[in-house]
């Protein structure tokens, strides 16, 4: 397990992150962290649109348990930065109702583990109302939630459940791994008219990268090629998107050129770049922090074999978290999530 890769201040060159979908010169960019990027998008939208407000547990006076909304309470006031009771179902449900009434709520659910207390509102209500009403009533909400383990928080605070939500028609599920994507995707999510699950990985908040000064947005459902290569395709999102880049560096020392694709969005899912890549490399490794059984990597593996079977020279390899409740012990926890080495090993196995 390589947690230090993800918590260190400097990860891969930020320019390379975004080169594939928005080339810009460093002089026209500013460096910031993922956390700053999310805060910036929230601040922009609060400023630009009086209908936008934030609500959630400890986002106000406390500043947010992951410090994303620090200072917002003083800046925008308690009516627009609403501290709520610890009652996830009514937090999400009231956000749905407020959205149906013309407001634009952005909810912080602290962690994806707690979102399970609101899963009735998310799955049975937010995702269904537009359809059940025959297109009359839409639910423009953004639900921010932190996913992932790696901080010794134990079994109830360390799950990766984003793929569950990605199974639900009516929801959009985005997983930004860089400051560029965090800013662009949050802007897009707030301005769109649909229910968004905005997944933030706790270990990525401090990652730095460049974002353009010029205004831009990043739509849901557009994967991005982070690195070009002809020998093997490495697919991931959130933390594994970063592990894949480091794995590509290691493989490059042996002359193996890996193509690295960051999905960025699980629903809608854009596999076009993956299929195109597999047609060149003929080999693919899919990695994610989530459990192996029934994981999102299974969906990707299936679609790859359905759409590019004739191009595959080896079975699709999956690199997933272990099928266990997250352990507390640092030593055990490091075994529970994929490492760069796991990905390198899987890549060598298909070559």
């Amino acid at each position: 397990m390589t947690m230090n890769l993800l918590t260190r201040e400097e990860v891969e060159p930020a320019g390379a992150d975004v080169a594939a979908d928005a080339a810009f010169a460093p002089a026209d960019a500013i460096e910031m962290t993922v956390r700053d990027a999310i805060a910036l998008a929230l601040r922009e939208e609060l400023t630009a649109d009086e209908h936008v407000f934030l609500m959630g547990e400890d986002i106000g006076a406390y500043g947010g348990s992951y410090v994303v909304t620090k200072g917002f309470f003083d800046e925008f006031g308690e009516a627009r930065v609403r501290d709520t009771p610890i009652a996830e179902s009514v937090i999400v449900g009231s956000a749905i109702g407020a959205a149906m009434g013309g407001l634009k709520p952005i909810v912080e659910l602290m962690t994806i583990n707690f979102s399970l207390l609101a899963i009735d509102q998310i799955v049975n209500h937010a995702a269904k109302i537009l359809y059940m009403s025959g297109g009359q009533v839409n639910v423009p909400i953004v639900l921010r939630m932190v996913t992932g383990g790696g901080s010794q928080l134990g079994a109830q605070h360390s799950q990766n459940l984003e793929a569950w939500y990605a199974r639900v028609p009516g929801l959009k599920v985005v997983c930004p791994a860089t400051p560029y994507d965090a800013l662009g995707m949050m802007r897009n999510a707030i301005q769109e008219a649909n229910p968004y699950i905005f997944v933030e990985h706790s270990l990525l908040y401090r990652n730095k990268g460049l974002v353009p000064k010029a205004y831009y947005t990043v739509p849901a459902g557009k994967s991005v090629v982070r690195r070009r290569g002809k020998d093997v395709t490495l697919v991931g999102y959130l933390r594994s998107a970063h592990l894949n880049l480091e794995a590509a560096d290691i493989l490059a020392k042996d002359g193996i050129e890996a193509e690295v694709i960051d999905l960025r969005s699980l629903r809608p899912l854009d596999l076009e770049p993956v299929i195109a890549s597999v047609q060149q490399t003929n080999r693919v490794v899919v990695s994610e922090d989530a459990w192996l059984t029934g994981g999102f990597s299974s969906e990707i593996s299936c679609q790859v074999q359905e759409r590019a079977f004739d191009y595959l020279d080896a079975p699709v390899q999956r690199v997933n978290g272990a099928d266990v409740p997250a352990p507390y012990s640092r030593e055990l926890e490091e075994l529970a999530y994929p490492s760069t080495e796991d990905i390198v090993r899987a890549a060598r196995a298909v070559l």
């Binding site: 500013i30 407001l103 008219a193």
Partner: protein, 384 residues
């Protein structure tokens, strides 16, 4: 109607006599409730005639729907409102046209009381393209955004949090608009009920919580499901004023709703109204009714809200027997016309399967403003 006094400090005092728990004894207890004669609390005679028409419409609509269900023209679940008509007529007609309504899955009566076109409601039950939800919602999910009728919901208590949010939107407008949230006695044991009441009271949200207590959550008697049989007393714990009304008497429902609206429109926060009522038919068409006796049902049928209102109107000379029959014939024609419309309406286009999953436009009702470039923001590194 039994009332709860609100002492102005957010504390309510129950003055209600203890009402027996068993459904058969409840029927007599409800009859014995004292009715207020306060000025302005009663509907006018002409309103009562309209209510009679509307309640008759709901009754016949439901009976014809049941008939169409047995002929397999209506599928899925069908939850009928027969017996509970006074609650819808007595409460929903007191709302402003811009007030929001969210309700549970026994929602046909509420929809018709709100003025949804019976043709389009029946067409929805038939699953046709002309239905209020274009055939995609069905009996349990009736919507009419133009009438601010924002849905029947089929997860017990799931819509109570949504009512809070609609209340937040109303509160932001600050013009007295509110949300009526209708649910059954089965909802009070769900966590979402308690989360919603707490938030509504905490934020003083303009929501009327209307509990249609028909004494059964599906087939489980209230006494077997809830630690208290006086459901309005849950409100007390959240410092929400609560009251009970006779749900078999449209006048008492009207008056109870009047108290609720007066409180909520004043900006004082939510109100809890419990209407004591009874469904004459099973939970759904699939219900063999093994959990209650025919005698119990017969006893409640003696309190039929439509029969009672009819007798009152004729007895007081407000309308003649002839006039009552004329209304009944008119309703018969309306419902027949609705059934014919539903029958003749087209099914949804197969392409509709994949529409309305996502809204395509951005939030067009909200004006977009130009945004500053990143470099102009001074807070970007605030959390670095």
């Amino acid at each position: 109607m039994t009332t709860i006094a609100h002492n102005g400090n957010g504390v309510v005092n129950a003055m209600a006599p203890t009402i027996p728990v068993s459904p058969t004894s409840m029927v007599n207890a409800v009859t014995a409730l004292q009715h207020s004669t306060a000025v302005g609390s009663q509907p006018s005679d002409s309103q009562l005639v309209e209510f009679f028409h509307q309640m008759q419409l709901i009754r016949r609509f439901e009976e014809r729907a049941a008939e169409q269900y047995t002929r397999r023209r209506i599928g899925g679940f069908l939850h009928l409102y027969v017996g509970e008509e006074a609650v819808a007529a007595g409460t929903i007609n007191r709302l402003r046209s811009d007030d929001y309504i969210v309700t549970h899955y026994r929602d046909h009566g509420h929809a018709l009381a709100r003025g949804l076109d019976p043709h389009a409601v029946m067409a929805e039950l038939f699953g046709r393209a002309t239905g209020v939800s274009r055939g995609k919602g069905g009996s349990m999910h009736l919507y009419d955004a133009a009438r601010h009728f924002l849905g029947g919901y089929a997860i017990v208590a799931g819509h109570l949090p949504i009512a809070c949010g609609l209340g937040m939107a109303c509160q932001a407008e600050g013009n007295g608009r509110l949300c009526l949230c209708i649910f059954g006695d089965g909802a009070v044991n769900e966590g979402e009920f308690h989360e919603a009441l707490n938030l509504a009271s905490l934020w003083k949200l303009p929501v009327v919580f209307l509990c249609e207590n028909n004494l059964y959550g599906m087939g489980t008697a209230l006494a077997a499901a809830s630690a208290t049989s006086e459901l309005y007393k849950f409100a007390e714990a959240y410092h929400i004023p609560g009251a009970r009304c006779d749900g078999m008497d449209v006048k008492d429902c009207y008056r109870g709703m009047g108290d609720a609206l007066e409180h909520v429109r004043s900006g004082a926060g939510p109100y809890f109204l419990e209407a004591m009522t009874y469904r004459f038919r099973g939970h759904s068409m699939a219900d063999p009714e093994l959990y209650r006796s025919k005698e119990e049902v017969a006893q409640w049928r003696k309190k039929d809200p439509i029969v009672t209102l009819r007798e009152d109107l004729i007895g007081r000379g407000v309308i003649s027997e002839q006039h009552a029959q004329q209304i009944e014939r008119q309703v018969e024609d309306e419902v027949e016309s609705a059934v014919e419309f539903a029958e003749q309406s087209p099914n949804p286009d197969p392409r509709e399967l994949f529409t309305d999953i996502y809204a395509e436009s951005s939030r067009s009702h909200v004006a977009r403003h130009s945004r500053s470039a990143v470099g102009e923001t001074t807070h970007a590194e605030a959390n670095a």
